[in-house]
């Protein structure tokens, strides 16, 4: 184990720093500067907000987001599994079946507990 191998990490970090810094620096050096109040305003998607921005969101959003994440992760595991399916044996099939079964139980319990109702 040679510590010199870690030099690549250092080089990578240096490049990662330089790459975004160069365009910003060039823009600052070469660009014309004619400020006016509208230009220096904070950029916020173009439209000014109506009312107070500190509103409370319904807690259901969070539950929906969590459920979404669960099935998002399921997809993440299913795609590589499906692509390699021809070359896998029974083990992979059983493992994935157990995984999907557990997620099905999750969904079932969420439904029974009423987490999918928007009230």
């Amino acid at each position: 184990m040679n510590l010199n191998e870690w030099a690549f990490v250092g080089i990578f970090l240096a490049i990662a720093g330089i790459l975004p810094a160069v365009p910003i620096l060039l823009g600052w050096l070469l660009g014309p500067r004619k400020p006016n109040p509208i230009k220096t305003d904070t950029y916020e998607c173009g439209i000014e907000t109506v009312g107070d921005t500190w509103v409370q969101f319904k807690v259901q959003y969070y539950i929906f987001a969590l459920v979404f994440v669960i099935f998002d992760v399921e997809m993440l595991f299913l795609f590589p599994w499906a692509v390699a399916y021809q070359r896998l044996d029974l083990f992979a099939f059983v493992a994935m079946t157990i995984f999907i079964l557990l997620l099905t139980i999750d969904l079932f319990i969420l439904w029974r507990k009423g987490a999918l109702e928007w009230t």
Partner: protein, 505 residues
């Protein structure tokens, strides 16, 4: 062809106790959603049955050892012993919680399956033979505990404790992952026996990768130090223990500690015993652990004197007890006493489990429905109203002090014995002196109950049956292991096989 294990090589049988428990928890979840509101009391009993089934399987399969899931899990006498400790903790944790949850209006069945999942995490921790499994088991152990500490939900103290525990716990998980990454970077493996072999080669070859291993080991000790509440990482303990519902505190103070120390022993004694630098005779982590142990014992015991709230006092006392166990872990870093050190740590965990669960059980008995009535002054004149409960509390307090004929004494005796055999005389002296300091605040509880006048205003006219059963189990455990220490000695002698097989001991 991708290399995959076959179904036969999984050797699922050896992980059966833990698997049974987790399956039980899933079944419990399913049963619970079908139960009508008035039958909800069944879930508690079903959870208890699940724990007892798992305990039965553990006791029946103690001789079945081996590796499972391609070496990720290992079942040996260490695993079996730890399974027994955490399953007893879970059983008593369920018993003392049943009535409390009902009367404080927290009777949500989530409590029981969160407790089962957390127990499953502890069992996997004891069986972990791979750094990745340790990480997953630690998360399985911790995440249910975060939720459980916020169980008294509308109350801010409970929510605060959950949030604090969650943030610091997530932080310590980060340390753990970073430590694992560094060790993987240096050794090229996360499998503990492979890590041991690689570290031995690195140390003998004088490679500079040894610094990576040292840093990784340090980060893992920090992360697990959070979990077991060792001193520089203990800040969360009093607040979380005070804010969480008392049965959760009881379960957490024993279970999370058992899980954390299981991981610490697995990583340090099996994975990194050969991490010896600079011409020393013991592993490099011994000095660090000895320092942490000394600080933990001193600060835990002295800070406990200041406390007026019983739960807070027991929180600091649990910090102090983590120090004594750390002393045994440090002793296990000396090659000649590795087995003794591990035995002492396990023995201490067992005796501490019974005693501490009992002490918290009594607090549950005196606590009022709104969570008050747990200050030291509330115990004035307790012996007049409840002579038996007061006697039992006195017994648990004496056991926490370490008076002979209680389980606490046996645990302390093992720890000091291992520590002196390892040549850590200074540490042992600090341990004895801080035990004397500890006696001050434990005996103060007894004085409040028996010698001072007052009218302790009790929450319940009579003790519920489930709580009584939990207290009896805890009391019997404390008594039996205190009076017949050879029983415990027989249980731990087998543990050396697991370690000697790896050549680390």
């Amino acid at each position: 062809m991708i290399e995959l294990p076959t179904l036969e090589s999984l050797n699922v049988v050896v992980t059966l106790p833990a698997l049974a428990l987790v399956l039980g928890a899933i079944v419990l979840l399913l049963v619970d959603v079908f139960l009508p509101e008035r039958r909800r009391w069944i879930t508690g009993w079903l959870a208890l049955i699940g724990v007892l089934v798992s305990l039965g399987i553990t006791l029946l399969t103690t001789d079945r050892t081996g590796e499972a899931f391609g070496g990720m899990f290992v079942a040996d006498s260490f695993t079996a012993f730890l399974n027994v400790v955490v399953l007893i903790t879970a059983a008593v944790g369920i018993l003392i919680a049943m009535d409390y949850l009902r009367r404080t209006d927290m009777n949500r069945s989530e409590y029981y399956f969160l407790l089962l999942f957390s127990t499953g995490g502890m069992m996997f921790m004891g069986a972990a033979n791979d750094l990745i499994v340790i990480f997953v088991a630690l998360e399985l152990l911790s995440i249910p505990l975060y939720v459980m500490s916020g169980f008294r939900r509308p109350e801010t103290r409970s929510e605060e404790s959950a949030l604090k525990y969650f943030l610091l716990g997530a932080f310590s998980s980060g340390f753990l992952v970073y430590g694992i990454a560094l060790i993987y970077g240096a050794t090229g493996s996360t499998h503990l026996p492979a890590v041991w072999a690689a570290v031995s080669a690195i140390v003998e070859g004088g490679s500079s990768a040894v610094y990576l291993v040292l840093l990784g080991a340090g980060l893992i000790v920090v992360a697990l130090g959070f979990k077991v509440a060792a001193v520089p990482f203990h800040m969360w303990t009093p607040d979380v223990y005070e804010g969480a519902p008392t049965p959760v505190t009881a379960f957490m103070s024993v279970g999370a500690k058992a899980g954390g120390f299981a991981a610490l022993l697995r990583v340090l004694v099996i994975g990194l015993p050969s991490l010896i630098v600079a011409e020393q005779t013991a592993a490099a982590w011994v000095d660090a652990l000895a320092l942490i142990a000394a600080l933990t014992m001193i600060l835990g015991n002295f800070a406990a004197i200041m406390q007026t709230n019983l739960k807070r006092m027991l929180a600091y006392s649990s910090i102090a007890h983590a120090g004594y166990i750390l002393m045994a872990v440090a002793a296990a870093g000396h090659p000649a006493v590795a087995n003794q050190g591990v035995q002492a740590a396990l023995m201490y965990l067992l005796t501490y489990a019974f005693t501490n669960l009992g002490a918290f059980g009594i607090i549950i008995a005196v606590e009022r429905n709104d969570g008050s009535g747990v200050s030291l002054d509330d115990l004035r004149g307790f012996s007049r109203q409840r002579p038996w409960l007061a006697l039992l509390m006195a017994f648990f307090m004496l056991s926490l002090t370490g008076i002979p004929l209680t389980a606490g004494f046996v645990g302390k005796w093992y720890v000091f014995w291992a520590s002196i055999n390892a040549g850590q005389v200074v540490l042992a002296v600090i341990g004895v002196l801080t035990s004397v300091v500890g006696a001050f605040y434990y005996v103060r509880v007894i004085v409040r109950m028996f010698l001072e006048e007052g009218s302790a205003d009790l929450a319940q006219p009579r003790l519920p049956r489930t709580l009584r059963a939990g207290l009896i189990v805890a009391g019997l455990g404390t008594l039996i292991f205190g009076v017949l220490p050879f029983l415990a000695a027989d249980m731990t002698t087998g543990i050396q096989i697991a370690l000697a097989a790896l050549g680390g001991g």
